[in-house]
């Protein structure tokens, strides 16, 4: 029953949007997306508003790294440089865009073009004991359908890659001065 009423509500909502000539909002509830046997994007609800940890650029992407208040507080207390580990509940998201040259700026500058993917890491020592307490997930974004899809399965997709910085509690990016 709850399922049916929820479905009806969604249907009514969709119909309402359609009546109003609704824009792309109708697309996807991104917080319903989950990695099979892994992390749900809803674990990171609100990441759009989190504070900045750092930024980076590679040949292919321009990115910003943001973290939840628990993790930002940990960074500001000196973790991981002080040898302590990030507490359970720490969450960090890396948002990656394909870059493009700005056509407006009066100088040569790369700015975000399309969203490519988001990488998510969360600390929960009980839930992720085999990967030093961290759970990893990656969601790819498709501009055409305005939707996210999980990459791979399970919770360890980034662990091997992050092992070189085990001393920094598996986190590459330091909190940048600002």
């Amino acid at each position: 029953m709850p399922h049916i009423s929820r479905m009806s509500a969604v249907a009514i909502g969709a119909a309402t949007l359609a009546v109003f000539g609704g824009i792309a909002l109708a697309a996807q509830d991104k917080y319903a997306v989950q990695v099979p046997d892994g992390i749900s994007l809803s674990d990171f609800r609100g990441y759009e508003g989190w504070a900045v940890v750092s930024v980076a650029q590679t040949k292919d992407v321009l990115k910003v790294i943001v973290a939840n208040p628990t993790m930002i507080a940990a960074y500001r207390s000196g973790i991981p440089g002080n040898g302590k580990r990030f507490p359970d509940g720490s969450k960090i998201a890396k948002i990656q865009w394909t870059p493009k040259k700005s056509t407006e700026a009066p100088f040569d500058v790369n700015v975000p073009d399309h969203l490519q993917d988001i990488f998510l890491i969360e600390k929960d020592s009980k839930r992720f004991p085999k990967t030093s307490g961290w759970g990893f997930a990656k969601f790819n974004y498709a501009t055409q359908t305005d939707s996210f899809s999980p990459d791979g399965k399970g919770t360890d997709c980034g662990y091997a890659c992050h092992t070189p910085v085990a001393k920094k509690d598996y986190i590459f990016h330091p909190y940048q001065k600002r």
């Binding site: 759009e48 989190w50 980076a56 590679t58 943001v66 870059p99 500058v109 790369n110 073009d113 600002r178």
Partner: protein
Amino acid sequence: MLRVAWARKDISIAIVAASLAAMGGAAIAQQNKDTVKVPDGLALSEFKGYEKWQVIGVSQNNNIIDVIVGNPEMIAAYQTGLPAEGKKFPDGVKMVKIHWNAKKSPDGFPALVPDTLHDLDTMVKDSKRFPDTGGWGYGQFNYDTASDSFSPLGKGPGCGFSCHTKVAAKDYVFTTFPKR
């Protein structure tokens, strides 16, 4: 030579760290964020809390990499579809561009990451206060790592106006709000 320079830097960092530890102070002890002000222009304190503001966008040019953040009013304006031709941002919106010197990733990845803080560029909309510059006040605060302090660049609130005039039709704002 480079190694010597690095070694010296390490030593001075160690000394600073030791001094800070002795004072029992957090690493933010010496900053003048609350007092630095452009003569006849913006005070950095008008942007209090920018350290935790939401991301608008990022950009990179040559050896500089930056993030642009906005206050809640600015983010709300972006979410209504601004900047757009002919539309104005409301009074009270504020944004800060944090520029870092870029360096190669120390972890061996082919990536550029922030090194030291270079400067902060600030913008605030107040049509009554800044009638001569499209309603926007501009400020730039350069950061000096050695003294851990900011200093204002130039004077008055108009420093970014001529540069931003190129996008006057979009209320002088270059940065868009990419999907995330």
